[in-house]
Amino acid sequence: MNFFIVSLIKTVIVVLVLLHVLAYLQWIERKVIAHVQLRVGPRRVGPHGLLQPLADVIKLLTKEDMLPSHVNTVFYFLAPFLAVMFAWISISVIPFGPIIKVGPVTTGMEITDLNIGVLFILGISGLGVYGVALAGWASNNKYSLMGGLRSSAQMISYELPMALAIAAPLLMLNTLSFRAMTDGQAGYYLGFIPRWTVFQGPFPQIISFILFMVAGFAETNRVPFDLPEAENELVAGFHTEYSSMKFAGFFMAEYANMITVSCVATLLFLGGWHPLWPAAYGSNFLPVVTFAISGLICFSHAANPARPFDRITLPVFGVLFLGLAALFLVPPLQLVLMPLFWFVSKVGAILFVFIWVRATLPRFRYDQLMGFAWTFMFPVALVNLLVTALAVALT
């Protein structure tokens, strides 16, 4: 029974955190793209637009829920549900940190640790196609159908190089469980080079990492692979006929998939929660210094505010940052927070790349997209896998 209660608590925590991350990821995306394009982005609702996600949720919830007359009703409603469900299930096998002790309970920082974690993620991401494909078909609209077809073809094609790119580091780590995989990447060469699979001998997995990220962009339908919703060709692609919460479902699924891909990349290639340099050289003080500097910057800006409102909001953020810095100095909390800090910063860095690419790259043409998958990525992934296998066999 203890197991059930602990799992329930962990699930609730993960779901709540994920919901907030999904909402704020969108705020971050809008802000980052705005700054790339020399705009300021959302800043009307709350200080620096921080309450914008809340306003968006209220808008989506209260919007009129349109049901077009020509759709296939059952599948039309089923599609966003499937998309969200499959996007969220995969989060359940991702560990966010090491095994911790909270009072009498010793538990890993994940919902569950499967022996076949990687295969599970591959299987669920394969099922994720149905949400998009069904949405396109059930909308009974030529643009939606084209979007759905493009999406299924694209996701099937890119699943192949993705699986091959995943297989290469697995050969070196010799396990399919995410927790064991991360344990295999602990330690350092020469005392300071981390043994992450991107650096680990006998064959550093940099090529696999790049292939995985490119395939990940395609699997999540992100720019430059967002052909299923290319607005200049297909209006809005597979979600043309969707409004209000059903549209929000697809939106949430896309962001949740982005987070899953980033987490898997972190765990497979970037050493999970293992720090970039050893604690002996002071990696434990990095978050303290970062947050303290952020807090001080807030205070210095509050001293001569650009807008009258900043006199109140910036000191609040300054205190929050300094409080976070102080939390990282408490020894028992440090054991929990340090791995989380490294995991979150690596995932955050990858998510930033997702947004950065969206802000800067143009979209592929459809034949280029398919040709790229089959004539470039697939052979490269295959050769990479063979070389890795040879290197592993020889050592």
Binding site: I116, L122, G123
Partner: protein, 166 residues
């Protein structure tokens, strides 16, 4: 707990399988088949076949059924039209079905040797490592022969597709 999960997912499998035959629209049937595949994967998992469950999910529910759905969508196949049936299959069908099932059960019981009771968690050789070891030691020849077979199928598919394009 195991028995409860087994009953739930066995029921889902059977309901989806019946639904697959009863539905008139190909997309509904394809989705029911995905339901069958998915709940079969759970049943494998309950019996300890972790790798088989994952392979079932990746290969059948994921890759193959996506192709099915893709083709149905591409051809835009509509619902099938039902022809009015004759009177006697309508009334005799279900009793005959039960008779057939009873006969099958009886024959199976007589011919096949009784296997021991299956208990949940007693089978432990289902992990990816175990299956990999078996594939490359005991079942090496069948494994390699299958790969040649698949290669032939791929070449055949390309040859047939070429003929269509030219």
């Amino acid at each position: 707990m195991d028995s409860l999960l087994f009953l739930i997912f066995a029921a889902i499998t059977v309901i989806c399988a019946i639904n697959l035959v009863v539905q008139t629209h190909p997309i509904s049937s394809a989705l029911s088949l995905i339901g069958v595949m998915g709940s079969l994967a759970v049943l494998y998992l309950l019996l300890g076949g972790e790798f088989i469950a994952a392979a079932q999910l990746v290969v059948y529910a994921g890759a193959i059924m996506v192709l099915f759905v893709f083709v149905i969508m591409l051809l835009n196949a509509g619902g099938e039209r039902k022809k009015p049936r004759r009177l006697w299959p309508r009334y005799a069908g279900i009793p005959l079905l039960f008779l057939f099932l009873a006969l099958m059960g009886y024959v199976g019981n007589r011919v096949l040797p009784p296997s021991g009771d299956v208990t949940f968690g007693s089978f432990v050789g289902g992990s990816a490592q175990e299956i990999g070891k078996r594939l490359f030691t005991v079942y090496l020849l069948p494994f390699e022969v299958t790969s040649v077979l698949i290669l032939i199928a791929i070449v055949g598919a390309i040859v047939l597709a070429r003929k269509e394009i030219d």
